[in-house]
Subunit: 250 residues, 2 copies
């Protein structure tokens, strides 16, 4: 039997935010490979399905293991949260292919899109991503902090809305504060800043503040931070970014 | 009966990329409001549901109509494609609330996230959004072209992957070419450029080229264009952006 590998994202957390295409892939798989807590979200529907849970931060090992299983003829699904192509497992799979067995390049591989965290976070508060926006991972596990700073500066100078993934962890408690300091030097003090924890789950919690008052200690690994553009505003309990600029209408 | 308004996105096109939460909202609605072709994608499951189809480019009128219906007690769903918060109807609804009837501010309103076009486009070709990225709408219907240019420049200088929404239309045939010209002055000639048409539908079609060779005439309103970062590369038939930088590993 010919093996296959599908990389999926289960969405932000609630089962009804996972696409039917992803649910069908999970149902058909002989093997699920992923970070333990993501696998735990998936209901067991078959007794003949193997689950290969691994720790966080071993993405390349996990990708190689999944590719080996597919090469041996298994129907493998690699499980990410959110969307698999946004700071998640899809890139790790292609990195592993590039550095790995030549036979892996001809495997039957597919990526299934999903609802990434910033979309769920935005929906919780209104429409803060309604204008042009950037997504930046603050983690410097895999890139230099100077690269993060360069991108924050460019995003601020371009007046983008900025979504910050991986804003903080126990190993990196101070970087979000440094990011806010950098942004405060360029963006207005009253710029809306949103801390959305566990977006798209029943535990979702939103803190709305301003760039001047934003405290990096409010974020953890389950938080998505959104920093507004100059046009981002509050209306009642909602935060949104208009689609355009005043005075420019077709 | 108290009215409500839910803003949803039906995803890129295939029914199995619409979230179950959105499908449930569509099923429960008394009134669907949206651009005709998006409404046409939704199967009729109830005979007592009113469909209010409108033309493209009348988003604010459509939002006001939806808010009026909700204020009169109807269960209204406003239908976008993709994700409703990304260059779609959610912002138009909040704009209409800000400028509209005071009573609209206390309506029961919710936004349901969906799979936005760039995620479906990325999944078709691999994982080009695997690093930090920006999303920019090239339409200057609602913002000045100088703002688009400023953001393209910032995105290139920050070495972001760049997803271009609304890259071309009959009224704007030359802007994508101008955008490529601007990017060519900053980014390497060999940067991968992807034209993904009808991503996430059975008609999906991908053209892979380089920034030096990219021709704006290859795009239409159903195309999502992705311009790589310096690290974006091809491996076999796949295009991906690694998660980090060479030599930086935790």
């Amino acid at each position: 039997m010919t093996g296959s590998l599908i990389v999926v994202g289960t969405g932000p957390g609630k089962a009804d935010l996972m696409t039917p295409a992803t649910a069908a892939a999970l149902e058909r798989a002989t093997d699920l490979v992923g970070y333990g807590p993501y696998l735990d979200r998936i209901p067991v529907t078959r007794t003949d399905q193997c689950r290969h849970a691994s720790d966080n931060r071993v993405e390349l090992d996990r990708a190689r293991h999944a590719l080996s299983l597919a090469a041996s003829g298994r129907q493998v699904v690699v499980v990410s949260g959110g969307d698999p192509g946004v700071f998640a497992m899809a890139s790790a799979v292609f990195e592993a292919i590039e550095a790995g067995e030549p036979g892996w390049r001809t495997l039957d591989i597919r990526v299934e899109p999903g609802v990434t965290a910033m979309l769920a976070a935005a929906a919780e508060v209104g429409a803060p991503l309604g204008g042009d926006f950037c997504a930046i991972s603050l983690s410097d596990n895999l890139k230099a902090w100077t690269t993060v700073e360069r991108r924050l500066k460019a995003a601020a100078e371009g007046d983008f809305v900025i979504a910050l993934y991986n804003p903080a962890s126990k190993a990196r408690p101070h970087q979000l504060g440094q990011a806010f300091d950098l942004l405060r030097a360029i963006k207005a003090a009253g710029t809306p800043v949103l801390f959305v924890r566990a977006a798209g789950t029943p535990d979702a919690k939103v803190v709305t503040t301003t760039l001047a008052a934003a405290d990096g200690a409010l974020a953890d690994m389950r938080t998505l931070v959104i920093v507004g553009a100059s046009a981002t505003r509050q209306i009642g309990r909602w935060i949104y970014t208009p689609r355009g600029e005043p005075g420019t209408r077709s």
